[in-house]
């Protein structure tokens, strides 16, 4: 057995697919010179599940639950993106109360996702106390989601044409109380990540990405907003109930890991504000409208803002009760480029936090992407795919 020598004094540190830092399989190769990272490579595709293909053989209703399972953390937002797309194709609009409940669940999910991320990022930085505390407090929002939907993770709040459950006054009170508690806790976490010297020592100036770079790399979500890019689907193209309850975009010009922490924590406050506002102004009315089983032929692009950034669904219907094609573009996929470009020159010890900084969701990523260069044909045949030609990667 020999160490794969790249150059004198340099060698490749593989992280993953099995590694304590990774909660899901992914593979990274860092070429290091001592502790300094000289080159970074990302290889994904270890949990490809063929969801898009599977969707073509199921009815729209059954697809909805399949889409929720693209991601375990942001299941609702996937369901919402799919439902909104199908509703648009069918020319149906969900009643306002259903739209509002969708947004409430989406914001609660954002709270849960960001708190989860805060814990994971702290753990990657070796700050297990923050990890334990933020996950303890995350239980509050998990309980709220369970209270509303009956499930802690896959809430399955959506049905085509509306939502499944209502929010009654007792639950409203409980949500308010939970959100108050979380707001108080979040203020403490904000203090920790912005003032604690040992923590700042690990985050400040690490993984700096300028606004131009972020735009060039096509970063989305909090990662982009931490570099000052004004990109938030909830603001740019409001959907569901967001036009009635405008979101204030959270921006930071820092561009480093500290900024990503600050943006996500400020987004928590924004989510608390939105949940309260929506609970105060919950419109009355039906929970769901009738939805045709056969969806008229057509194509639709549905965009929503997932906790990790812009999530895009492309759905093509051929007039039957099954979609002809569903294409999902998940936010994590857009952010990988920022890792490989910012990793160079940092220390190996920064890598786990840098990876955690974009809040990657590996199972979301496992779909085929192809970078098309000028002049290349836009269509690939099966044979080309099997041969692994044509500049594609999984």
């Amino acid at each position: 057995m020999e160490i794969k020598k790249v150059d004198e004094g340099k060698f490749v540190v593989p992280i993953g697919p099995q590694h304590p830092a990774l909660k899901e399989p992914g593979h990274f190769e860092f070429t290091v010179d001592g502790e300094i990272v000289m080159d970074a490579k990302v290889r994904l595709g270890f949990v490809h599940r063929g969801i898009e293909k599977m969707a073509e053989q199921r009815t729209y209703t059954r697809d909805l639950y399949l889409m929720e399972r693209v991601c375990g953390i942001c299941s609702h937002v996937h369901g919402t993106a799919f439902t909104l797309g199908v509703e648009k194709l069918a020319g149906v609009t969900a009643p306002p109360r259903a739209q509002a409940i969708r947004v409430i669940i989406a914001e609660l999910e954002r709270i849960h996702s960001h708190l989860l991320w805060l814990g994971v990022a702290a753990h990657e930085g070796g700050f297990d106390t923050l990890f334990m505390y933020s996950w303890r407090d995350r239980e509050t929002v998990m309980d709220l989601l369970e209270l509303l939907s009956g499930n802690r993770v896959h809430y399955s709040a959506n049905v085509l044409g509306g939502v499944k459950f209502d929010i009654n006054p007792v639950q409203t009170d409980q949500i308010r109380r939970g959100v108050d508690y979380l707001e108080e806790r979040t203020q403490f976490y904000q203090k920790v990540v912005t003032t604690d010297n040992t923590f700042l020592g690990r985050t400040r100036g690490v993984g700096y990405m300028s606004r131009e770079q972020a735009e060039l790399q096509g970063a989305v979500g909090p990662t982009a907003r931490a570099s000052g890019v004004t990109r938030d689907v909830r603001v740019d193209a409001p959907y569901s109930f967001y036009p009635q309850t405008p979101v204030q975009i959270v921006l930071d010009d820092g561009g480093d890991l500290t900024a990503r922490f600050i943006v996500r924590i400020k987004e928590l406050f924004e989510a608390y504000r939105l949940v309260r506002l929506l609970l105060d102004n919950l419109p009355e009315g039906e929970l769901a409208t009738r939805m045709p089983r056969r969806i008229p032929a057509g194509e639709v692009i549905s965009r929503v803002e997932a906790p990790r950034g812009e999530l895009m669904y492309f759905i093509r219907s051929n007039g039957t009760d099954m979609p002809e094609r569903v294409k999902i573009r998940t936010p994590s996929l857009c952010n990988w480029g920022t890792i490989t470009s910012t990793a160079v020159g940092l220390k190996l010890a920064d890598m786990p936090m840098l990876l955690a900084g974009i809040d990657p969701c590996f199972s979301c990523n496992d779909r085929m992407i192809r970078v098309r260069r000028a002049g290349e044909p836009g269509v690939m045949t099966w044979d080309q795919i099997k041969a692994g030609k044509g500049g594609w990667s999984v």
Binding site: T61, D63, L64, Y65, R136, S156, K164, K191, T195
Partner: protein
């Protein structure tokens, strides 16, 4: 710029009970809407099979023994069920319900996870028929 922002929290925690729930020993009451085991009421069922068409994981089968007299048996495969509530939403006659009490459903064998709902004599009739080769009724599977 401070060091040890967590100090106060740590001292407080030292004198506090751990936040960990000692689950099998202490049980918290389940929320009202918890989605647990599926229950089926054959008396209300019309046999329209909408629940089966919409089930994302093909967890339920309906065997019609006599449609005129409304004799149905529902075979519920709990090991496939994702507890998504779609069948309950699809049923127009309110004969399906997800229990909020029965949720500790894990089992090492498959048998306890396959549940037959229906009138006793119908279930008996189905099981006897199933025992004979070639008469297995699985309308849901292709």
């Amino acid at each position: 710029m401070t060091i040890g922002t967590f100090f106060g929290e740590l001292v407080k925690s030292l004198f506090k009970r751990p936040a960990t729930e000692r689950y099998p020993y202490d049980r918290k009451p389940t929320p009202e809407r918890l989605r647990g085991k599926l229950h089926y009421d054959p008396e209300k069922c019309s046999g329209c099979q909408m629940c089966i068409r919409d089930c994302p994981s093909q967890a339920i089968e309906l065997v019609t023994i006599d449609k005129e007299n409304k004799r149905f048996v529902m075979i519920y495969h709990m090991n496939r069920c994702t507890f998504c509530d779609q069948c309950v939403q699809s049923c127009r006659f309110n004969c399906l319900d997800l229990s909020s009490e029965e949720w500790e459903l894990a089992s090492l064998q498959e048998e306890p996870l396959t549940i037959y709902y229906g009138r006793d004599e119908d279930v008996q009739f189905l099981l006897e028929n199933q025992a004979e080769p070639g008469t297995e009724a699985h309308p849901c599977e292709e």
